[in-house]
Structures are given as C-alpha cells and as structure tokens.
C-alpha cells in the first residue's frame, strides 16, 4: 500500500539502515504483541510455574486452568452467555436505529439537519460515568437493575451515536447519481433505499456491526454497576480471580483469553475492515470539516 510513497522518500540506504528499520519494527511488534502472547503462555502454566524467577518460557503445559474456568467452581460460561446476550441485542438494536438515521443525515434534505447532526455528535461525547448515576437511580426505582433490558438500553448510549456517524461516512461514499436514477424510475424512496442504496453499503454495515459488537463486549463500567447475579458480563467476571489474599494468575490469564477470544478472532479476521473503519472518519474528516 505504501510502495509509491516509500520510493518517494529518498534513495534506499544500505544494509545497516534496513537492519535498523527491521530492528525498530521488531521491537514495536514485541511491545504490542508481547503482553497478549505472555498472557496466552501464562494460561497454560501451573500457578507455581507462573511465580518462578526468572520467568519460565519452557514448561510443561497444562489445561487445568481452562478446565477450571470452564467447568470449575469459578466457571465463566454463564458470564460469556451474559456478554453474548447483552452485546448481541445491543448491536441489533443499534443497527436498526442507526442505519436509517445515518442515511437521512447523509443524503436527505430536511429542516434542522445540522442541528440533528450536531445533537448526535454531542451525545457521543457524554462520559459514561456521567450517565451511570442517573441510570442506576432510575433502574433501581423501576426494578431494572441486573436485567438484560436495562443493560441493553444503556449500551445504546455509546453505541448508537458512534454507529450513526460511522454509517454516515459510508453513505456519503455512494455516488448521488445512483439514487437519482432509481428515483427517476419511480421506485419509491423506501424501495430505493432497500434495493439500491443498502447493497452499496454492505461493507460499511459489516464494519459498523463489528465495532458496535466489540465495544459492547468490552464494556465494563455499566456492567459492573448495573449487573448482578443474573446479568454479569465476562468483563466483570475477570475479578473473580483476584482477591485481597491471592491473585490466581494462571486462571486469570485463562479466563481473560477465553473472554477475549471472540474479540481477538473478530479483530484478526476483520483486520482490514477495522483499519478502514478506524481511518474512514479521519481520512474523510479533512473534507467534511
């Protein structure tokens, strides 16, 4: 992707320069990948091997930690299930609201368009700590604490504004002529949106769905305050392995690996889209003001 830009940077240096570049890049790779890889390694250790000094790279791997966090007393399966339900329902709801709204914001003419766009943007900036207090008080009053519906509703507060803005940038990419042609053919507005426009933003919908799901899965503050024994997402369950007396390192690592497996897999599978999703706003940002 950068071949052209690279060649423009100046004459390629000698072998030393190349070596330095690779060293720097390798270091970079290590710094970012290492904690995760180390966690993976730790999850296969016994608690005794974990606390060896110097740290053991070679050891006899064990599956005990995984057995414990899946089937044992501190099983996180119910928590994975909670996370699944909350994240999925929040994602579906978010997309149902966000896609039509984003289309209107990106493409249609209507009064107070700037105001509504600004409103969506402003809601995105509310810090979650500010929302959790009123939510807690309200849900406590109506008996919504520790319920899936209460949790899902508050997840909309961060996912909906984000999804709307991401989708707007994808809708803006579609050539205007396409929908004009469809409209001249007397296809109704709704039919045009459904049959002509939406197929064009399939990629954008996929990227947005991924991001919304990731954010919902990783959410912690709302989960820890509004959850309870019924609804306890996996991010909260990580603290099962940490107590004042003792931290169960290996189990924590195994639990974290299981909890993060979905997002890591999605992240790796969709890495191209994720980079595009991250950059779409930034690259276009200059133009859109």
């Amino acid at each position: 992707m950068s071949g052209t830009a690279t060649s423009a940077r100046g004459p390629r240096g000698g072998g030393l320069r190349a070596l330095m570049l690779w060293l720097a890049a390798g270091l970079l790779l290590a710094v970012w990948a290492f904690p995760v890889l180390w966690g993976l390694l730790t999850s296969f250790k016994t608690e005794r091997d974990v606390l060896a000094y110097p740290p053991k790279v070679l050891f006899e791997p064990t599956l005990d930690n995984y057995r414990e966090v899946i089937f044992g007393a501190s099983s996180i399966l119910p928590n994975l299930w909670s996370s699944m339900i909350v994240s999925t329902s929040a994602t579906v709801l978010t997309m149902l609201f966000a896609v039509p709204a984003a289309y209107a914001l990106a493409r249609l003419r209507y009064p107070a368009k700037r105001t509504s766009g600004f409103y969506v943007l402003a809601t995105q900036m509310l810090p979650p700590v500010g929302l959790i207090i009123p939510y807690y008080l309200v849900l406590q009053k109506i008996g919504g604490l520790d319920t899936y519906s209460g949790m899902t509703a508050i997840y909309l507060t961060f996912s909906l504004p984000f999804a709307i803005w991401l989708m707007v940038s994808y809708f803006e990419d579609i050539p205007q002529e396409m929908e004009e042609a469809a409209l001249l053919d007397r296809a109704g507005r709704l039919r045009t949106l459904w049959y002509v426009i939406l197929p064009q933003v399939r990629g954008g919908i996929a990227v947005t769905t991924i991001f919304v799901f990731l954010n919902a899965w990783n959410e912690f503050l709302f989960a820890v305050v509004l959850g309870g024994n019924n609804v306890r997402p996996v991010t909260v369950a990580m603290f099962n392995f940490i107590s004042v007396e003792q931290t169960q390192w290996a189990r924590l690592a195994a639990g974290a690996m299981l909890a993060m497996a979905p997002v890591i897999l999605i992240g790796l599978a969709a890495q191209r889209h994720i980079v595009k999703g991250l950059t779409v706003g930034a690259v276009k940002g200059g133009g859109r003001r």
């Binding site: 966000a98 700590v129 930034a282």
Partner: protein, 302 residues
C-alpha cells in the same frame, strides 16, 4: 407556459415534502432513542447534583441547591482529580500522536511485513480495557514476576512497586493507556501517509529539501487534518477512561491515579454519596463538552 412552470414547481414542492417526511420517518426512532437514553438521564443527573443523596445517610436526603458544588471548591481530592484528569489526558494524547506518527513514518519505509505489524497493532485495540488493566497489573507490572520488573532487574535498575508507589503508579497508568491506544493513531496516520501523492516529494528533492524539511513543510501540513481528528478522538477516549485504571490501581494508591472519572465513581458507588458523585459527573461533562467544543473550533479554523 407559466402554467407548466407552476406545475413543475408544485411537483418539486411535493417531492421536497415527500423527502422531508421520509427523512423524518428514518430519523425519528434514533432521535427518540437518543433522547430517552442520553438526554433524559443527563437532565436527571443535573437534578440529582442539586440534591443531598447519600445512601449511607438516607434520612438527610433532600434538595440542597448548589451545596454540592460549593463543597467541591474546598475539596482537595476534587482538585487533585481534576489536575490528574488534565495530566492524564494531555500526556496520553501527546504520547499517542508523537509515538504513533514516528512509528508510522518508520513503518512506511519498510517495504515488506507491514501486514504483520498491522495485526500486532490491532491486538491492543480490540482488547477490553479492563482486561488490559488486569494484564498489566499482574503479568507486566507486578513486582518480581511482571515483565517490566524482570527487565528492570536484569538491567540493574532494581525491582519497583510500579503500581504501589504514588508517582510510579501515575506513570504506569499513563503507559497502559498509551500502550493500548497508540496503535489507533499509528494505523490512522499510516493509512493517511500512504495516500500522499509521491510527486510532491519528487519536486522537493529536486529543490534539495532535506528529510526533516520535507517532513515539516510537506508531510505535516498534508496530514494535519488527520492529526487533528486523531487528537479529538483520542481526547474523548482519555476523558472517559475508566476500566483500565480501575483494574490496575482502582484509583490508588490513595488517590494517586484518581482521575475525575474514578473519583465520581468511588464517591457514588463506594461511598454511596450519589448526590456529590452526580455533581462531580456534571463537572466532568462540562469539561468534556468544553474541550470538544474547543477542538471542533480549532478544526474548523484550519
């Protein structure tokens, strides 16, 4: 002739009306949802901040006017958290942009293997901040066994209590945040740099502009919009940072890493003083909105 013109005008008007109704129908559900889930709670938050609401002392509950805000003025823990919020936000954002941009410029020169680096960069971004905080607290920063401590000992710098010493703890949580989110700046800036037209550099080299001059006078102005965008987005994340610090230090030791988010949380849900917590959250909201407003003004000015 005039009659057909009027007819066309009427047709345009109905079309415009139709478009307006359609737009409203598409937009209304989302706007209502946002109104219900964000704006209403916000109003309720402000309302609560004007009340005495301490679950530990429920008999004292009642309207208190500006009492909570007045209390803040003489609360050293509040001023400390406000200061820490600014330090945390400022330093993490600057670090992310500087490190991210340097890395992007570096990686751009590597002809092969960018894909691997991109995968490595994706990892921290997709992890839950709470897991990142716990990982660092145990595997990376724990005295004796953490990677950083092992390296520090191997280098002869000795073992340190990275999260237990007040000054080190602040540096540590800043490092954690920077570790997790620098890849974002890196990926965005790398993608932006790759879109720059190569012929500009060609011309500059003919003019015998040095590498540093080329960067300062060509690259930087061209990627400025992307940098501003990154700064805005990263600032928002830093201002709402919570889970990683909560997991790593819980705001401690003492209140050494207690940014406003954590102070509001601890006040509300550990000390159960929801009224005062609400007023702290209102200040945080005001601060966030003010900073974003400033940033957007800045962006427009460019």
């Amino acid at each position: 002739m005039p009659s057909s013109g009027a007819r066309a005008g009427a047709a345009v008007r109905t079309l415009a009306g139709q478009e307006r109704r359609f737009a409203l129908a598409l937009l209304l559900p989302a706007l209502l949802a946002l109104l219900l889930t964000t704006t209403t709670p916000l109003v309720y938050l402000v309302w609560n901040s004007l009340h005495r609401l301490d679950l530990g002392m429920p008999w004292l509950s009642g309207f208190a006017g500006l009492e909570n805000y007045v209390r803040m003025g003489g609360d050293p823990r509040f001023w400390n958290s406000l200061w820490l919020t600014l330090v945390y936000t400022g330093s993490t954002v600057v670090l992310q942009v500087v490190v991210g941009l340097s890395l992007a410029l570096l990686v751009l020169q590597i002809p092969k293997g960018q894909g691997v680096l991109r995968v490595a960069a994706i990892l921290p971004i997709v992890l839950a901040p709470v897991v990142v905080g716990l990982f660092w607290r145990t595997l990376v920063l724990a005295p004796d066994f953490g990677l950083v401590d092992v390296v520090s000992r191997a280098l002869g710098l000795g073992s340190h209590n990275w999260l237990g010493d007040p000054q080190l703890a602040l540096i540590s949580v800043i490092a954690i945040h920077t570790w997790q989110w620098t890849p974002f700046a890196f990926l965005v800036l790398l993608a932006t740099l790759a879109t720059l037209p190569p012929d500009i550099y060609e011309a500059a080299r003919l003019d015998r502009a040095g590498a540093w001059q080329r960067f300062l006078h060509i690259t930087l102005p061209l990627i400025r919009p992307a940098i501003v965008m990154v700064v805005i987005l990263r600032m928002m994340t830093a201002l709402s940072a919570f889970a990683a610090i909560f997991a790593a230090t819980g705001g401690g030791p003492g209140s050494a890493t207690e940014i406003l988010n954590l102070y509001a949380y601890r006040t509300s849900f550990s000390e159960l003083n929801l009224g005062y917590g609400a007023s702290l959250a209102v200040v945080l909201m005001g601060l966030t909105l003010a900073i974003s407003f400033l940033m957007f003004r800045l962006r427009r000015a460019k």
